[in-house]
């Protein structure tokens, strides 16, 4: 069980086996550098949004595995691409995003409880901006808004709980709940005024069914539910959602390993 946890579980405190590679359609490329250190990156995004994260294992706490993760992202090139005229312009084209660096540090702890692998995590997010960040530069979409808002608010905190259970030899169930908070950012105020930045929290929940054909390939399906406070009020959205069809479609993810 412990050996298996080292595979596929990028969200847990388990570090991937040394020299093993894992990648998915939407999951990052993950590689074990040593027995207690791994790195991960989204390789396709890297050209427009350089990103990397490192996870380092620490001493066990009783039967619980512990680790810390540091993520670094430079979103400026991607955001400036999205700040354009016409279709695909998600940010006002008159706005130029300054150089920005996002840092996220988390502490992770994983343990087995009654046949369920439980992972708890908590951490701090920092949004550093090396220039003037226009207050009108937000993207008011679920998932995106609160992650970008860290740069306006300068910092945030996050916490979460993941549960993974083997249903059969090849089938796994994964459920998680994550909270993002932006302390200092106000809840939407109701006094009818200009408020480009309000909405101090979001909650994300995911349920996945995972079928592992082998230690080298697996298929994942499920849903993600996002609920948060935004400048326009509270919004809940089931993802993935296809706008023109006005339908939810299940997540389809394929992952490979070597």
């Amino acid at each position: 069980m412990a050996g298996e946890h080292k595979q596929w579980n990028s969200h847990s405190a388990h570090v991937i086996t040394k020299q093993r590679w894992e990648i998915g359609l939407f999951q990052p490329l993950r590689h074990g550098l040593s027995d207690d250190l791994e790195y991960a990156t989204y390789p396709l995004w890297f050209f427009v949004m350089p990103n990397v994260s490192f996870k380092k294992a620490h001493e066990d706490r009783g039967s619980a595995k512990t680790a810390s993760r540091l993520s670094i992202v430079y979103p400026t090139p991607l955001l400036n691409m999205l700040s354009n005229e016409g279709i695909g312009g998600l940010i006002d084209p008159n706005i130029t995003m300054p150089p920005m660096l996002g840092l996220s540090g988390s502490l992770l702890m994983s343990w087995d409880a009654f046949g369920v692998m439980v992972t708890s995590k908590a951490g701090i997010d920092l949004g550093l901006s090396m220039g003037k960040l226009d207050t009108r530069s937000n993207i008011d979409l679920p998932i995106v808004y609160h992650r970008l808002e860290v740069f306006h608010n300068k910092w945030g905190v996050h916490a979460g709980l993941d549960l993974t259970k083997d249903m059969t030899r090849h089938l796994q169930l994964f459920v998680d709940l994550d909270v993002r908070l932006l302390p200092g950012l106000e809840k939407r105020n109701e006094d009818q005024s200009y408020q480009m930045h309000s909405g101090n929290h979001s909650i994300e929940h995911k349920l996945l069914l995972i079928w592992s054909r082998s230690s080298r390939f697996r298929i994942i399906t499920g849903y993600k539910l996002v609920s948060g406070d935004f400048p326009h009020g509270n919004e809940t959205r089931l993802l993935p959602y296809v706008p023109m069809l006005e339908k939810w479609v299940p997540i389809i993810e394929l992952q490979w390993a070597r």
Binding site: G86, L90, T135, N138, I139, Q192, S193, H232
Partner: protein, 375 residues
Amino acid sequence: MKHYVAILVFLFLQGCEPFVSEFPDSSEPLTFKASNVETGSSVYQGGSIKVLTWNMRFGIGRFPFFGDSCGEDVIADEQTVTQTMEAIVDTLNVIDADIVLLQEVDLESKRSGYWNQIQYLLDNTNLNHGVYASTWKADFIPTDGIGRINTGNAILSKYPLESAERIQLRLRTDQSSLVQYFYLRRNILKAEIPELTMDQKLFFAVNIHATAFATDDTKQQHVNKYLEVLGNIHSSGNVFISGGDLNAVPPDAVTDYCMNDMCSGENYHVEGLEPYHKEGSYFENFLGEPDILSPLYDSYQPAIHEDFRNNPEHFTHAPTTSMIDGNTHRRHDRKIDYLFTNLNWEENSGFTHQGCWEVSDHMPVSATLSPTITN
């Protein structure tokens, strides 16, 4: 476990709200009420009834918005919106109309700072009740940074509004499916004002914002529907005040403003060059368009008499970046905003408030109803 499932089902339903709102032919608009209503202020005390129509351009004043002028800006800054909304409030309080028909009112749209403009106006003016019908409502418009949008027509009144109805107008047919999906859905907003019932004749307020940029016959369809709605009220023996931004010039008016509205780098009226005319600036897109408003003038009472409807002092619109020369804004060069009734306006009460040119690219039009009925 049961509770978990129930909560999940609830959240699932919440999470599947349409991304872009499409509307049935008839639906119920949103209702609003001022946070503090003075005792007695919602009761009609008799006397004249003042009516105003105004396309308030979502509180951005003369901000060079990319969508309706030669501007390039999209998201208005806080100072612009705050000052303009305050100016709109001041204007409404000075004019002190009993019934206000508004077009281009934003409700928690990113472009105007997520302001609930309807509630703000109700809370800061003498108006107590409001209804609102979206013309454009989407979680996110992935174009030019617009983001979340909810904008539309509103009727604000000192007196309670009931039986409000949002009447969907035909969509443009000169657009691709993708553009049409994310585009405006124009409507007529109608509401009854029971306090103003006269000799058992029900009193209605009807607000319209017709298509601006269609190059097909959509505008004719919108005016036809408008005439149908007004005709139904009139033929039922009831009374109405109505108006809005019809995006149509009066009969006998100039119909070509392409050169006035032309932006730097654009060319119009050049053979072989498409488009020949600028969208929204030419009013002969189909046979009969110059006279499209004649049935309204023939059947009902205009606030601005037809003898004066084409006079410059009653012009209500010019794009915000329209210039006469390098230094002088063209403030208004056409009339496209109107008030009509099947009652009678008090003589000479019709007025076009051209002093408001800094507060919007449209001028408000007001008039006062005589409280006696003459059909």
